[in-house]
Symmetry: C2
Amino acid sequence: MNIYDISKEAGVSIATVSRVLNGSSSVKPVTKKKVMDIIEKYGYTPNAFARGLGLNSMNAIGIICADCSDIYLAKAVYYIEGNLRAGGYNTILACSGYELEGKKSALNLLLNQRVDAVIMVGSNFVESEDGKNEYIREAAKQVPVLLLNADLDCPNVYCTMCDDSKATQEAATYLINSGKREILYLYNSKSYSAIKKLTGFQTALLVSGMDIDKNRVLYYDGSHEDIEGVCDFLCKTCSENKLSFDSVLAADDVLAIGATKYAKKMGLKVPEDIYIIGYNNSLLTACNEPELSSVDNHLETLCSQLVKTCIGTLNHEDIPQKIIFSGELIHRGTTKHI
Amino acid sequence: MNIYDISKEAGVSIATVSRVLNGSSSVKPVTKKKVMDIIEKYGYTPNAFARGLGLNSMNAIGIICADCSDIYLAKAVYYIEGNLRAGGYNTILACSGYELEGKKSALNLLLNQRVDAVIMVGSNFVESEDGKNEYIREAAKQVPVLLLNADLDCPNVYCTMCDDSKATQEAATYLINSGKREILYLYNSKSYSAIKKLTGFQTALLVSGMDIDKNRVLYYDGSHEDIEGVCDFLCKTCSENKLSFDSVLAADDVLAIGATKYAKKMGLKVPEDIYIIGYNNSLLTACNEPELSSVDNHLETLCSQLVKTCIGTLNHEDIPQKIIFSGELIHRGTTKHI
DNA sequence: ATTTTTTATGTAAGCGTTTTCATAGTCGGT
DNA sequence: ACCGACTATGAAAACGCTTACATAAAAAAT
């Protein structure tokens, strides 16, 4: 069943059928109805390949994320997919892993599929070391590239992000204002955005006239999901360095929950003895005991804006290259809000 | 840059270039190298649409899931995507929501994209009421349909699943053998598979000569992620019905964690006073306190097998229509293993 | 009534592959 | 040296659509 069959049955040319399908130029209402009826009768749908060949577009957007099973990235993919679908676009998904090679090959895969644009989900896509971002610049020469929670100056690259630096700074400032003086900062990534969060933390300390104690800035090198691993890591590191702290600011909820476990193991009471703040405000916050205070970065809004930007550029609208939202500290049981 | 440009530069016909690209029939090694060199020189990649038109396949598989931000479904999507990519297939993702209409339209979307096969992720895709599964049967007339954790008898539909009924029965039997007599069963879906789990639970009771107390089989109608909601629901329902129980078997980790919250709220000690068992063995088990015992259904194995089946059918291999794995109760802090 | 403008439709040329069929070239066997 | 059997290659059709251009029909203007 192809466009010829339809045109034959309707007694019109294939051009007319095509016009009906695309609703583009003018077709007499009578003709339109006649064609529509036949189309419905046979349940005909145009061949996407042929259409793609003609239009050089498949109405598909590629999404790359490192790991779509990550609780935070999965949410992002979900929101983005929904918005894209609502906008008439399909979503081609590629998970790349966290290594550069994987990212490059996932990107090539999508470009070969002739996606109309590429959305890269997650701060881990922009490296602090700029040379490593060359592959993104290359891709941007072919199609618009949209970054979620990452920042890269490059033509045809559009960034939608939360100001993680500011949000982290605010969270840290809250801890300081609550009288905390021994804040442990926990992070698990060295992406551009991770570095910015760290900077935000340090800025808060400096602004308050506090020293930055390098021992209290810990990088956890394990799996992004391994809560037990975080706890063990803290046990080991803290006993080795005889490290104490009165609060934890984590770059991620998993880290924060690991820290909660550790604190309890040490016999500390949360939040009486120690405050703990996570980041992402994920489902996990509800599992913790007490429930985890966490920085919310309005993921749903970010994603909806990102897709708007995406579709906007595809329609050749004039679109700002960077859109920055603010984060917000959500107070729960692991901090006492004054 | 298209196949003509390559052929011209290499001084051969486009047919030869095509043959080199597809590695199909015989091409003289010298010619092959010559063509390859030119292809690499220009970084040429064939146009996916044109190829799709010719082959009537884009090497893409459609994945439908209700909600790819669900912690369990996201994992499934992740494993499937990885396996598909390793097998040379792309993944087109469509999230359908839990309503029938959404499922139908997501499916149509994918079929219009001319995917080579459709993978439906999640037990919620097969309804107990068989009429509602007609759209799956229709789809199966066009392309192979692969179901993860769902069961449907239909030509060209292939099911890969965990025997949830048996696994649930085993978990319940464990509780009974541990001396529990007032087991609360908690569930939140009425999919085919959810019903089978419930049946497994009931079978365990019957086999042990226990009565099925309908009051202790609770259906939670709220969001799949709302731990607090589950807790509230239990507070309300249990106080209304003056319900007590000495153990909880939940169809899902979120439900189980909600139950843990409730138990603690009531002043019960876990596991001393009450045992709790979840289902899916997700990341959440590690957040609970004590850590949640949960039924693992070997998702990674399921997914890898499902993709094997998928690629097998596409290669017209002889493939069994149903593959059933066993689940396994993983013991952690919410049960005392004897 | 005639000319001009507008609207509706058809014709045919791409789009970039794959693949069938035909043909030229190569090689071993006689 | 010649024939048959392969092997390597090319020419061209097919895939199903979009769209620029051409044209016929209808409407508006004179």
